[in-house]
Assembly symmetry: C2
Homo-oligomer: 367 residues x 2
């Protein structure tokens, strides 16, 4: 195809998708899921104020390329300057820009084996070389991440706190202490997507101007706006400004900006969702235990359940749930892939889970 | 700042924005615009069915990463396979992916001097070298674009038909004939953002599988959904598949997908907007002529007005309109920048324009 002359890098990349979407699975199985518990969305939905704000936003106008109102509100919320904040098309979009800014062909990047695949997708997409370290006791391990970064002269090191897919957590103070070992040429990409449902001490306790780290936050999880695609980065102004070199300036959906602003301003609703998440986590854990499985303590809006055997068994349990219309996912890599991962659901969805899990287990045990 | 080690390419790029947004201008002047006629948005808004569909879409779910329903409907609309269609975050987002796939440092790209700045922004952002040819009689010139592409061995050549910022047009048959001169190593990026308000013969009259060209379409213009960020590319399946190597798979807003689908299905509403655009173009042209200015015949949802002198004068007219609360823009490059560009407005907005333009002209003539 002579007219299609991709770059050598693009030619080398596979056409892929970091996650198969639930709609794709629904089309394949010919039926909708009855409980959508696989993508760590918030079934509790966003603040009604957000829904109203989005409905009232004129769709014919492009969004403000500065996301000014939202950025101002976020700065006030975090007690920092708007110059410390970059709003973007979800954390996925911001990670793409960040990797593009830092990673050229052959540059080293470090993450944990089995951590967020979309980050890895971006690293591969810009020609970076990914180095991994194992989880330690189902937690990402800052010490080994930063040691590996020093060893390979990494441009970026990725750490999610709380972690996805395991739901485990470090205190922000632990991360801050570990940062003493971060090499001078490495930037920590701290993904705090789930921080709003973690203990308060989880957020990194360092000044937002600290040039060693960029934090990623999102309205997709506890704020309940996954469909709207709004994330933001918090960091040193030099780093925030650099996004203007590469970002899609008019990429932010206008209604999404308005919805995120309204969601941010409705902290009482957020507190209510936080309560619902705690209750749902307890219920999922109880369902798991009642089946003889081990829930891993979670600081997120999902619970990862240790199925007690290998990946083949966990996959059989997962398939058994999916066959019963319960959409769930599982970690990709050993030893974490002995688990399945279940997002918080409404009481009705968790009733369905409670019914389906024993059936799935029995079927998996039969092989 | 030792931890911030941008790539050499990123370091070389300026922090910039292809267009200053109207909200930025409103904040600077301390007052809202009374007529927003500068961004070629559709003041007539989207189909009411689109607004309803968006309001009814749950915001807590991620969008389908395949945009399956929308892609199927677009395939039916265009009489092609869904494998010929890639949905993305507006044409801006799709252009970014396309440039990323084709352009590595030093690769040649061709466009017209003064054509769409966001395309140029992406080319610079991936290290490409941009070569330009002049407009001919206020029209982009396929022959000189393709000749330049041959001369510099361009990977991509950009052509908007109808053109922005001039509003001029070629027939699709003319473009098809000109393609005989497209060099074998060059892909034509044919931006048809405005095709829905152009004469029917404007759309390229070649099979969608033709590997020489990728077409860009959008819901931001005549469909009235600029705030939602939905565009799509039509092309050879090999080219469409390649987007999966680099795109942000979960980047599409869920409500936006639903809104675009509903807008597409409401072709009677589209026809009504097309009529309103024709009327608004006539009115803008008449206002221009009544002030002694020359409207350039338009196949778009805006009218570019030749102010009859140089760029300094046109800029003074533009500033005079902005001072009166009328947001308009103008071409960036000579000789097109002797003009100002006015988007179609409601009758009330154009009444405001009719009042403001003579005042702006008088003020500009005084210097």
């Amino acid at each position: 195809m002579t007219h299609i002359r991709l770059t050598p890098l693009a030619l080398s990349l596979p056409a892929t998708v970091p996650f198969v979407g639930p709609e794709t699975q629904e089309r394949a199985r010919g039926a909708a899921f009855t409980a959508r518990l696989g993508a760590n969305e918030s079934v509790f939905g966003p603040s009604p104020a957000a829904i109203t704000a989005m409905a009232e936003t004129p769709q014919w106008m492009y969004g403000d390329p500065e996301s000014f109102d939202l950025r101002m509100a976020l700065a006030a919320h975090h007690g920092c300057s708007p110059d410390n904040i970059m709003v973007g098309e979800g954390i996925d979009g911001l990670l793409g820009y960040l990797v593009r800014m830092f990673v050229a062909t052959g540059d080293a990047v470090v993450t944990s084996a089995g951590a967020y695949p979309t980050f890895n997708y971006h690293v591969a997409g810009f020609g970076g070389t990914l180095h991994t370290v194992p989880y330690v006791n189902d937690r990402e391990d800052p010490a080994s991440l930063f040691a590996k970064a020093a060893e390979v002269d990494a441009k970026l090191v990725y750490l999610a706190n709380p972690d996805n897919p395991m739901g485990t957590v470090h205190s922000g103070a632990e991360i801050a202490r570990a940062l003493d070992a971060l090499p001078a040429g490495t930037l920590l990409v701290l993904d705090e997507a789930y921080v709003e449902c973690a203990p308060e001490c989880t957020a990194l306790s360092l000044p937002v101007d600290d040039p060693r780290v960029i934090r990623m936050r999102t309205f997709s999880k506890v704020y309940g706006l996954a469909g709207a695609r709004v994330g933001y980065a918090i960091g040193h102004p030099d780093l925030i400004t650099a996004f203007h070199k590469v970002r899609n300036h008019f990429g932010m959906n206008r209604a999404a900006q308005a919805g995120a602003l309204a969601a941010l301003e409705d902290q009482p609703y957020l507190a209510q969702v936080q309560d619902q998440i705690v209750q749902a986590r307890d219920r999922i854990s109880q369902i798991a235990r009642s089946c003889g499985l081990t829930p891993i303590p979670s600081a997120t809006n999902f619970v990862t359940i240790d199925c007690g055997r290998d990946a083949v068994f966990a996959k059989a349990v997962l398939d058994g749930l999916i066959a019963q219309g319960i959409f769930v996912r599982m970690p990709f890599i050993a030893p974490q892939n002995r688990c399945i991962r279940i997002s918080c659901g409404t009481p009705e969805m968790l009733d369905a889970l409670a019914t389906a899990l024993p059936v799935a287990l029995e079927s998996a045990e039969k092989g």
